[in-house]
């Protein structure tokens, strides 16, 4: 597994919360985030990192998107 940093479009709400809307994967494809189920602090033991973890639904699949120190990353397959 590898740490993949991604470009993210996100929204700040009036209340100050931060919600990711879409991201661009390393192959250049843009993926819309259909839904954010949950957001909590967590570590990624798989690729090494720690920050806010968003559990999201993307094209019917569940993925984690991490926000760490101003950058977004995901857990890549290899």
């Amino acid at each position: 597994m590898k740490k993949v940093f991604v470009d993210v479009t996100a929204e700040f709400s009036r209340e100050g919360s931060l919600l990711p809307r879409s991201f661009i994967w390393e192959n250049g494809v843009k993926y819309e985030i259909d839904r954010v189920y949950e957001c909590c602090k967590a570590a990624s033991l798989k690729v090494g990192g720690q920050g806010l973890r968003y559990r999201c639904r993307v094209r019917g699949k569940e993925v984690y998107l991490f926000f760490e120190e101003g950058r977004w990353f995901m857990e890549g397959k290899k």
Binding site: M1, A42, A43, K46, G48, Q50, E69
Partner: protein, 413 residues
């Protein structure tokens, strides 16, 4: 009401953070070491696997490599560790506001007042342990007890990722059989003195008479006796790891040995500069200057002297430090590291005794000058303005303020 104190110790802290960020080295022996090229090459922390090879904190890299040739050496990343220490504190802060840091990776928590909300000390300890693992990806061992000393002992008993409870019911079985050196503040020399008297375990220390211990160890004898019996009532003070209340100091192991008075002078000025800068930042002045010298055979000595007036200007501090140095060091051997510390602190605006004769006006001017230097450095960086003497040797002219390492501070304050 009986106090409930937790002591949380982040296991192999630096190494755990490094292993979290680099999964490839997670199952290998890892040691975080100071940089060898700057001659800081000692083991700062090692992970559990390296520990099994007998690698110990404080030994030189080559010694560790001898025990474990495949040891992976990682340079420290202090900003990252500070971030994790802060995150850990945020976890603790969900349970209490009474948190006392002891170094970067240990904290005492007084959760007496939170038991109504969150349940027993053990329950909170287990929650903290789980949260730390999930949210930070590092493990913590927690000691739960009714005083700080036993809580700290508890966190050392089972690790990593464990909770140990020491209560009034079980402390005699758990604490008393332990070797006396495990007790907080029983260092190498106290341990030797006690062992010479056949006081080898904490239980034997507890059973000794306090008057006897006082005769042998001075007032510390009584203090250790109260620790051993669980009578320690020191409160958990709200203190961050950035607080240094009793004194402010900097020391540095230099890239090369110091050979001459000129070398020592450069370093003393660089260190005094940073000490003075930190005094000003914390709005404090100090009256006593201490220096610390360690030669290249690792023999060390400490000396101190008083200033005429409390100050936060680097000039008088450096001059005093240099005088102490010249009075006490005979250059039998080159020097490996030097430290300057200012203690006897007062707040900067406290009243001072004025004098008709010596240059009070000069001191005020000097202090104003140095405050202006702070401002210049804040805007343009540390090296924007500096003393002439520091320009004669660049490698010795480090920036100790930014490279300052945080060490545990005193238990009593």
């Amino acid at each position: 009401m009986e106090k409930v104190i937790l002591h949380c110790d982040l296991n192999s802290f630096y190494a755990s953070v490094e292993c979290l960020y680099n999964p490839a080295i997670r199952d290998k022996p890892v040691a975080v070491c100071g940089r060898a090229d700057l001659r800081h090459g000692i083991v700062l922390t090692k992970n559990q696997i390296a520990k099994q090879y007998g690698v110990i904190t404080g030994e030189a890299i080559w010694q560790a490599r001898k025990k474990c040739p495949q040891l992976i050496i990682v340079n420290p990343n202090y900003p990252l560790y500070l971030r994790f220490a802060q995150e850990a504190r945020e976890v603790y802060a969900r349970y209490t506001d009474q948190i006392e840091a002891f170094g970067i990776d240990e904290c005492w928590l007084d959760v007496t007042g939170s038991t109504g909300l969150f349940g027993s000390g053990e329950k909170m300890a287990q929650e903290i342990r789980e949260r730390m693992k999930k949210e930070l990806g590092v493990t913590v061992s927690v000691g739960v007890s009714y005083n700080k000393t036993f809580a700290k002992l508890g966190s050392d008993l089972k690790k990593p990722d464990a909770v140990t409870i020491i209560s009034r019911e079980n402390y005699q079985q758990i604490v008393w059989p332990l070797p006396v050196g495990e007790l907080l503040y029983v260092g190498r020399s106290t341990k030797r003195k006690l062992e010479n008297l056949a006081i080898t375990t904490i239980g034997k220390l507890a059973a000794s008479s306090p008057a006897y211990l006082k005769r042998i160890l001075g007032k510390w004898g009584e203090v250790l006796w109260t620790f051993a019996n669980g009578f320690d009532e020191t409160p958990v003070s709200k203190a961050g790891f950035e607080n240094a209340i009793k004194g402010i100091g900097n020391s540095m192991t230099t890239p090369r040995d110091l050979q001459s008075l000129q070398d020592a002078k450069i370093l003393i000025y660089a260190l005094s500069d940073s000490v003075a800068q930190r005094l000003r930042k914390h709005h404090l002045k100090g009256r006593t200057v201490q220096i610390y010298i360690r030669d290249n055979t690792l023999f060390s000595l400490e000396r101190q002297a008083k200033l005429a007036n409390a100050t936060y200007a680097s000039g008088p501090i450096a001059e005093k430090a240099l005088t102490i140095f010249q009075d006490n060091y005979d250059w039998q051997k080159p020097i490996r590291s030097l430290g300057v510390r200012v203690t006897d602190l007062v707040t900067a605006d406290s009243c001072i005794q004025l004098s008709f004769f010596d240059g009070q006006a000069r001191q005020l001017k000097l202090e104003a000058l140095e405050r202006s230097m702070d401002e210049i450095r804040r805007r343009f960086g540390h090296y924007a303005v500096q003393r002439g003497v520091l320009l004669t040797d660049t490698p010795l002219n480090a920036n100790p303020v930014e490279e300052n390492v945080i060490h545990p501070v005193s238990f009593f304050r």
